[in-house]
């Protein structure tokens, strides 16, 4: 048994498989009880053949007999295989030993069954069919891991070999020595139908044994093709992701150089503005010049934050809130905001522009999410947390299914026809600033996003400095 095969077996409900194996063995053992009347019908058909002199009844009797025997053998075989390949036995033994153990177990079960229910079984044909089936199982199961396909192949092998039992030609080779097949054969000989039985036996044995091998080969080829398709699909996805990342990186670099170019006119504005201020130290013009200077400073900060993403500043939590509030679109009358800021919050050490952008992304998600209520309620809370602050954004939208909660961090995943970049971006920014982000959601009840940011005093404890160094080092290497 290969490692991958074992993994599959271990992964798909081992207890269920073991229970299925036991159930199949019990069914196989009780098979003669379930189909007692069919067995009796076989005897009746043989009697009818002798009485009427019609060998056609013998063929029908043989078909019924072979169907019953092959199904019983296959059920016992499948039960044993399920049990053996689901226990540690298969991993401890060598493949040939597993083969022999399976062989002996199935023969033993047949023998026990014939002793208990006194229903005849044919050891030679069963043994040969078992050897072929186990050989095919080894080939088939390693490739497909599919018990249904194994069953389809095995039942054909058993059915093919059962036909040898009713052929008078094979009588010297210990085939068909129990009472029912023997009765079929002796009746056939009496009715001068031994050639018919030989021909019928071959006519079923050869096509079914060939069919079993062809079916196994087809299943194996199909499984291999499927595996190849899966691998191709995974590779395609990987290539697509790589292309997307490369594109994202290129756009980012282009935007960065564009933003960098903004600094030049800004320096000119600042220079000229300072000249204006020195010329007019009083009056309205001085006031305007100061305002221009403040705006230029803000804009310069924004550009610096964007260009130097690992640059941080110590600021009050209230400053961050003010900055966020200034940028929030709050025109929609159907949206009600409730903002609660705890007092005496600790200072934080962050890249203000980027963190603000991340929080706004989360807020924008809360704004656009569909809502079943008459108005959208968004609570924006900022509270003190252990060694930092928590920003909690809670909405009463339709929420997210539990199964989709892990997907929200994937780039491109969106349920609102947005770009699907907002949350992955927010997560990256927050983590770059030594923070964390968590999403809890319940379908139809809304979503709560909690962003934790460490206080300036505890920034180092959360690996902030280390993260910055690593990122900068990576950045240097890339450059």
């Amino acid at each position: 048994m290969t490692v991958s095969q074992r993994k599959i077996i271990e992964n798909i409900f081992p207890t269920t498989i073991a229970a299925g194996g036991v159930l199949l063995i019990i069914t196989g053992m009780l098979f003669p009880v379930f189909f007692q009347n069919t067995w009796f019908n076989i005897i009746m058909k043989i009697r009818e053949a002798i009485t009427t002199g019609d060998s056609g009844h013998l063929i029908l009797a043989s078909a019924s007999l072979n169907c019953l025997s092959s199904i019983q053998s296959t059920v016992l075989y499948m039960g044993t295989i399920l049990l053996i390949f689901n226990t540690e036995l298969s991993s401890r033994l060598k493949p040939l030993d597993v083969f022999l153990v399976s062989l002996v177990s199935i023969v033993f079960l047949h023998w026990m069954d014939s002793l208990i229910f006194e229903i005849p079984w044919e050891p030679v044909s069963t043994l040969l069919a078992l050897i072929i089936s186990l050989f095919l199982f080894e080939k088939l199961f390693v490739e497909t891991y599919n018990f249904v396909q194994v069953f389809i192949v095995t039942v054909q092998v058993f059915f093919a070999f059962q036909w040898l039992n009713i052929m008078p030609y094979f009588s010297p080779y210990l085939f068909g020595r129990r009472d029912v097949p023997y009765s079929v054969k002796i009746s056939g000989i009496y009715l001068n139908a031994d050639t018919v039985l030989n021909f019928t036996g071959f006519a079923f044995f050869i096509p079914f044994i060939i069919s079993a091998f062809i079916t196994a080969t087809l299943f194996i080829s199909y499984s291999r093709n499927l595996q190849m398709m899966k691998e191709n699909h995974i590779k395609e996805n990987e290539i697509r992701d790589m292309r997307a990342k490369a594109l994202e990186n290129r756009i980012y670099q282009e935007v960065k150089s564009l933003v960098h170019d903004l600094k030049t006119p800004l320096v000119t504005i600042r220079g000229l503005n300072s000249l204006t201020l020195s010329e007019n130290e009083n009056g309205k013009l001085a006031e305007y010049s100061e305002r221009i200077e403040n705006s230029v400073t803000k804009m310069s900060d924004m550009i610096s934050s964007f260009l130097y993403e690992y640059s941080r500043q110590k600021l009050k939590a209230s400053d961050l809130i003010s900055y966020i509030r200034a940028q929030l679109p709050l025109e929609d009358e159907k949206i009600r905001f409730s903002i609660n800021i705890e007092e005496d919050l600790p200072d934080i050490y962050i890249n203000k522009i980027r963190i603000a952008r991340a929080v706004i992304n989360v807020l924008e998600n809360a704004i656009v999410v569909p809502c079943k209520h008459s108005y959208k309620m968004i609570n924006f809370d900022m509270r003190r947390a252990e060694k930092g602050i928590n920003i909690i954004i809670k909405d009463n939208g339709i929420g997210i299914d539990e199964s989709n909660l892990t997907k929200i961090w994937e780039i491109g995943y969106s349920t609102n026809n947005t770009s699907g970049l907002g949350l992955p971006f927010a997560k990256r920014i927050i983590e770059d600033n030594a923070g964390t982000i968590e999403v809890v959601s319940q379908r139809d009840f809304g979503t709560t996003v909690t962003i934790f940011l460490p206080s300036a005093d505890n920034f180092e404890d959360y690996g902030g400095g280390e993260a910055i160094e690593n990122k900068q080092y990576a950045g240097n290497c890339n450059n």
Binding site: I50, D179, I186
Partner: protein, 199 residues
């Protein structure tokens, strides 16, 4: 690849061994068995009851042969003593079938008791007992052998198949009981010795 070749070789060896070990599949009869092609004169009278000893389908073959020979017979696979009134002979078609017994709803012990009663009744009323054993390629089954011994030892004439696994047993019974024995090559050939018992 080597492992696969090894397995295929193993399977071929196994199959060859199976064939070699079992050919010839039955033990050769070591002693000389002298059998009659048929009886020189009839020993049985009609009407005759054809019954089974072991409930195999062989009984139906004997009945068919009897009908073809137009022997006045009554076919009763489960004949009891009370059915034997006015009968002159009894033919036992011996062959044990576990499924046949189940179909009739009787146990092996019931069947043995029925046979013993019939034999005792036949002996008491001086009826002729003819034993026909068609089984040949089956392994010597303990129960089959027991029934053959039970019926064969009390028979007036035994008919069997040459080359069968029962051949030696039938020869022993015939020799010990001084019972005429006919061994035929094919099932169809039973007609001749069977007819010779009545005509």
């Amino acid at each position: 690849m080597k492992r696969n070749v090894f397995r295929i070789v193993l399977i071929i060896i196994f199959a060859l061994l199976l064939v070699l070990v079992n050919m010839p599949y039955t033990k050769k009869v070591e002693k000389m068995v002298f059998t009659l092609p048929g009886l020189p004169r009839p020993i049985a009278e009609v009407p005759v009851v054809i019954t089974s000893a072991g409930q195999s389908t062989d009984t139906y073959i004997i009945n068919d042969i009897s009908n073809q020979l137009m022997i006045r017979s009554f076919f009763m696979p489960q004949a009891e003593v009370e059915h034997m009134e006015d009968m002159k002979s009894i033919v036992f078609a011996v062959g044990y079938s576990s499924l046949g017994l189940k179909l009739q709803g009787i146990s092996y012990e019931d069947e043995k008791t029925r046979i013993e009663k019939l034999i005792n009744m036949a002996k008491d009323n001086k009826l002729t007992i003819i034993t026909v054993v068609l089984g040949g390629e089956q392994p010597i089954d303990e129960r089959n052998e027991e029934i053959i011994r039970l019926v064969g030892a009390q028979s007036d004439y035994i008919i069997g198949l040459r080359g069968s696994s029962n051949e030696e047993l039938l020869a022993d019974l015939a020799e010990n009981g001084n019972i005429p024995l006919t061994l035929v090559r094919k099932v169809k050939d039973i007609s001749v010795p069977f007819a010779s018992a009545f005509r």
